[in-house]
């Protein structure tokens, strides 16, 4: 569905992404992990066409992404932002309706059908009950769900998430990830999620891409990627990798220096 062919990208002098090639199949749940500065966010920005690679090409269903116009991309690929600062407080429903933008062209007002789509998106994400509340009165977890609803209102095929669980407590992390998993399983949406939390990525993603300084260090199932040697090599710290006692997926624990 999405194919990256030897992508190179740099902001200034140094390459941030170096010869990146991989494919994402329809309906996959892919996690991108790697230390700070390894290029996770940059990769997501390139996937949403926010940045253009200097070399290489991204194909979306065989079509080069750079040939597609912005609103066509927005109909296929939705992004759930990290944390957005809203200058003036819009209501939750207004934010979700913004997701209809790529479908509206030059229309100034949403149609009745758009409202219905927004309502369904809010029902799915359980945000309907505060649809009339301004965003600045909602909690971090509620705001995140509103942005998922906005992404759903775009009726995309792919959803990109950048550090979706940072600054959420464990309860909300779990709620949020279950929601994403549902979207993936029940609606067949393709998910690409960049995460700092290796355990979460290992638990929820089918496939992981481990980045090291803009290159793919390992790619494969969590059991293939989350291995002590890989993690210690890429992150440069001591870890202990065993199995989650219930799900049997790989799990990492941090080790203090010299404890081993």
């Amino acid at each position: 569905m999405i194919e990256l062919r030897s992508i190179y990208f740099r902001y200034h002098k140094d390459w941030v992404l170096w010869d990146l090639s991989f494919q994402i199949e329809r309906g996959e749940f892919v996690g991108v992990i790697g230390p700070n500065g390894s290029g996770k966010s940059t990769l997501l920005k390139i996937l949403s066409s926010l940045l253009n690679p200097q070399k290489g090409e991204i194909f979306y269903e065989g079509l080069p992404l750079r040939r597609m116009n912005r609103s066509d991309i927005a109909k296929k690929i939705a992004v759930v932002p990290q944390e957005t600062h809203l200058l003036f407080p819009f209501r939750a429903l207004e934010i979700v309706l913004m997701g209809r933008s790529p479908h509206l062209g030059n229309l100034l007002f949403e149609r009745r059908s758009d409202l219905e789509i927004a309502r369904k998106a809010m029902e799915w994400t359980e945000t309907l009950r505060f649809s009339e509340r301004p965003m600045d009165e909602l909690s971090g977890g509620e705001r995140k769900r509103v942005f998922i609803a906005r992404a759903l209102a775009q009726e995309p095929e792919v959803i990109l998430l950048d550090e979706p669980t940072s600054n959420l407590d464990i309860h909300h992390q779990l709620d949020f990830l279950e929601l994403i998993l549902n979207l993936n399983r029940e609606r067949g949406l393709t998910i690409v999620m960049a995460s700092h939390d290796i355990n979460i990525a290992s638990e929820f993603c089918e496939r992981l891409i481990l980045l090291e300084q803009g290159r793919i260090y390992r790619m494969g199932s969590p059991k293939e990627v989350v291995i002590r040697e890989n993690i210690e090599r890429v992150y440069g710290c001591e870890t202990w990798v065993d199995q989650h006692p219930v799900s049997k997926m790989p799990r990492i624990s941090l080790l203090r220096k010299g404890v081993r």
Binding site: L50, D72, A74, H85, L86, F88, F90, L108, F109, S131
Partner: protein
């Protein structure tokens, strides 16, 4: 679930238009010669249909050639400055932005002062044209220095605007210190904003800029909402942010330049009207732009009416009134913000 519809925008606009008409009527009534409300209305209506009524020739002249053009000019400028302020606050993502923040005001002032000092001020067209050119040139210079790798970044642009603005302010001070006494009075009145030069031709000069500018901005209003939710977000929702920004900056600057050129620097309107309207009607530009235009127009007409009547026969610069009334009113709105929201 309530969604903003065209119907709601239309309803609000009609109500605010009605308020604007009432304010205008009140404004043409009062002054050194009072004209009764019914009489004022009939003069205005008769003039539209080209009829003569029972009113005296003096009343007709006062209303049709003096007060009505002045009210119209104040209305246009109030609408222009308010819309321009609202747009710049969104584009620069800065609630402190006003129409003058990109240096338009200082540029216009330099143009006007030079015109006054070389004696062009006596010509009916000299002053507006000179200040319009000054404003436009400043906008272009600010844009030139505000770019970074060919793109416009709000903060760079803001800095460029502020710095070029303060450089020009120094020039203004210099010109003030070397100007003659009689010129000084004209310049200072201009700097504080003044409608006493208004005439029908001034209206015709700025009408196309303001009407067309506001209309074109309105066509972008839904996309401007997306910019408020963040530049990256807007791009990912399919908006061509670069082009939208450039067009909107230029339109807002053009509207400001046109407004400033006919009446000088009227402060405060472009800052408080957008905020006040936002507090009452919310931040959606599809409602905000028409509401700002109509409320801004009413506010400036009312302020100008006070300016020319409060110490009659002495006329105050309208900028004094906008600040004196607008400031406390704005503080009141801020304090009662919660109340307004639940209405």
């Amino acid at each position: 679930m309530k969604m903003l519809t065209f119907r709601k925008v239309l309803t609000v606009s009609l109500i605010l238009t009605f308020v604007l008409l009432l304010v205008t009527l009140a404004s043409v009534m009062v002054g050194s010669v009072r004209v009764r409300p019914g009489r004022s209305l009939s003069i205005l209506i008769h003039s539209v249909f080209g009829l003569g009524g029972e009113e005296t020739e003096m009343e007709r002249t006062i209303i049709l050639s003096l007060r009505f053009p002045r009210a119209m000019l104040a209305g246009l400028v109030g609408a222009g400055l308010s819309v321009s302020g609202a747009i710049l606050q969104a584009l620069l993502r800065n609630p402190l932005a006003d129409p003058y923040i990109l240096g338009v005001s200082s540029g216009a002032a330099i143009g006007a002062i030079v015109a006054i000092m070389v004696g062009l001020g006596a010509l009916s067209f000299g002053l507006p044209i000179a200040s319009f050119l000054g404003a436009l040139m400043t906008v272009l210079v600010v844009f030139y220095f505000g770019r970074q790798d060919g793109k416009i970044h709000p903060n760079t642009l803001l800095l460029a605007g502020v710095i070029i603005g303060s450089f020009l302010s120094a020039l203004i001070m210099f010109f003030l210190s070397i100007s003659q006494k009689e010129e000084l009075h004209t310049i200072i009145f201009w700097l504080m904003g003044d409608f006493s030069f208004s005439n029908t031709r001034a209206i015709l000069i700025i009408l196309p800029y303001i009407l067309l500018g506001v209309f074109l901005l309105y066509c972008q209003s839904r996309k401007l909402n997306l910019i408020l939710s963040g530049e990256e977000s807007a791009l990912q929702l399919g908006v061509n942010v670069g082009r939208l920004r450039l067009i909107s900056y230029l339109l807002a600057s053009l509207i400001t330049a046109a407004s400033v050129s006919v009446c000088g620097l009227i402060g405060f309107v472009g800052l408080i009207i957008p905020h006040s309207v936002r507090l009452v009607f919310g931040p959606d530009h599809r409602l905000l732009i028409p509401a700002c235009a109509l409320v801004g127009a009413s506010f400036l007409i009312a302020s100008d009416t006070f300016a020319r009547t409060i110490l009659s026969p002495v006329e105050l610069p309208v900028g004094v009134i906008t600040a004196a009334f607008g400031g406390p009113f704005f503080v009141y709105l801020l304090r009662t913000r919660k109340v307004i929201k639940t209405l």
